[in-house]
Amino acid sequence: MLDADLTLSRGTLELELTLQVAAGEVVALLGPNGSGKTTTLRAIAGLQPIAAGRVELDGTVLDEPSTHTFVQPSERRIGYVFQDHLLFPRMSVLDNVAFGLRSRGERRATARATATATLERLGLTDLAGARPHELSGGQSQRVALARALATAPRLMLLDEPLASLDATAKAAVRTELRHDLVAVGGPRLLVTHDAVDAAVLADRLVIVEAGRVVQSGTVEEVSTRPASRFVADLLGVDLLSGVGDGRHAVRLASGAVLTLADPVPDGEVSLAVRPRAVALYATRPEGSPRNTWEATVGLVEVDVDRARVQLVGPVPVTAEVTPAAVRELGITTGATVWASVKAVDLVAYER
């Protein structure tokens, strides 16, 4: 497992964070651009020496300034999938994947055989003879993973594995990568600024802000109980503050009362609302009378596969619906809609 305690400064960034990744665990380092995610990976890989602290992998100290220990990156056996993949342009896919083994002194034939087996494992056999410039973004990303995997690393690092892909390819590659990461095994640490990617790919999230860990936990834990507005915004989860009645109701500052399925603490609480749990209607919905309110539409952001609708009114939350729903309901800024959220979709916790 990886045990890292990193202190270093780079430009305006002051990085100071501790991080553990257990064998068999996929951890996502989630944070906005410039929060030190890539620097963290570089420090672990040895591309950026730390100023203080310690990097330890499977009981071996790799970097510890206090004891003048520094293991060269080439000796660390850490696989690194770079954001731009960095496939060697003058080599075929097969030679790219065989590169690490050749560098470690394997004979060409042996290295190629292992590289072929690795490509086969990821279902990339057909690409063996291709040149990097002939690959699509998703293929190139998977070849980069194969190249790192071929050297049987003790830890796999992935820097923004999905960031360089266009929106249409992203969903498919994300699903493939999820399977690939299972095949990789061992401790895996990936960096992303996208909460959905993190949620899909990782077992555990580590949220970083300005070089520091602000929260860590399973995706469920972090998204239902974000520690701060920063984390809530990053995850796309809305946080409302209100007063719990000790039973099943929370009264918001606006006076609106929301009912929860689970018991609610008595006193000041935070209420987490997932935008996807908020449903919108053109007229007052029939049936369930609870947790339904009339709202005015604020900003509307329409993406390829989803739309985010900001609601102004007694319950200030964001609803995530399909672009088709936006058209059908005639949702535009200033329009009036009805919104509802199920009692089981609300999570309240003490502030």
């Binding site: 890989a45 060269q72 990156p73 660390r76 690194y80 960095l86 590169f99 690490g100 560098s103």
Partner: protein, 260 residues
Amino acid sequence: MTRSRPPWPLIPLAAIGGLLLVLPFAALLIRVPWSDLGSILRQPIVTDALRLSVVSATAATLVSLVLGVPLAWILARTVLPGASIARAVVLLPMVLPPVVGGAALLFAFGRRGVIGEPLYESSGFLLPYSLWGVVVANTFVAMPFLIATVESSLRSADLRYEEAATTLGAGRWTVFRRITLPHAAPAIVTGSVLCFARALGEFGATVTFAGNLQGRTQTMPLAVFLALESNREAALALSVLLVVVSLAVIIPLRDRWLGT
């Protein structure tokens, strides 16, 4: 880019400039005794000079490759105190009058030179007025062309590929051999050709340091200069030969080096 009509004052000036560059070649070609060219080229003064030029320019290019590529790497990649001064000194022979370079070489390696004197007294080896002297003079003048070309390529290389190789287990030498060198290969070829061409045309440093001895140190440019006094036909033949070689160098390189 669309081609546009030039403002009229440019036309006569450009024409004069062009003529100034082209007319001498035309005159040279007019005066060449084409019918006797074959027999002239077989004269000893010509064959000796040709052989010496090819041998010394080739040797200077090889020496420049072996020594210049490592030097270019050091200049491009390491953070040394006074690196910009070191770079200027290394490239100085590109702009220095070659005769000054030859004089400097004499003061270093001559019979009474700083290094030359102890070397001569201990081993009897004397660099000036020998083929080795020609090679040293050629290298001194031509190697900076190779260094400048290769250094700028190394400087513009994307170091992240080298980092990627490192994380895959490649040591420094493997990274240099399999990532850095292939990337710099086009620049190394360009630099070598420029270096060879410059060595082939070397005159000032060679004549100062190695003298003008037919069959020993007299390269083609030196032979041309000497033959102009006594054997004009040989001078013309050698000149044509050098023009052809220079054209062969500049035509394939003009796009890459001149950046069009």
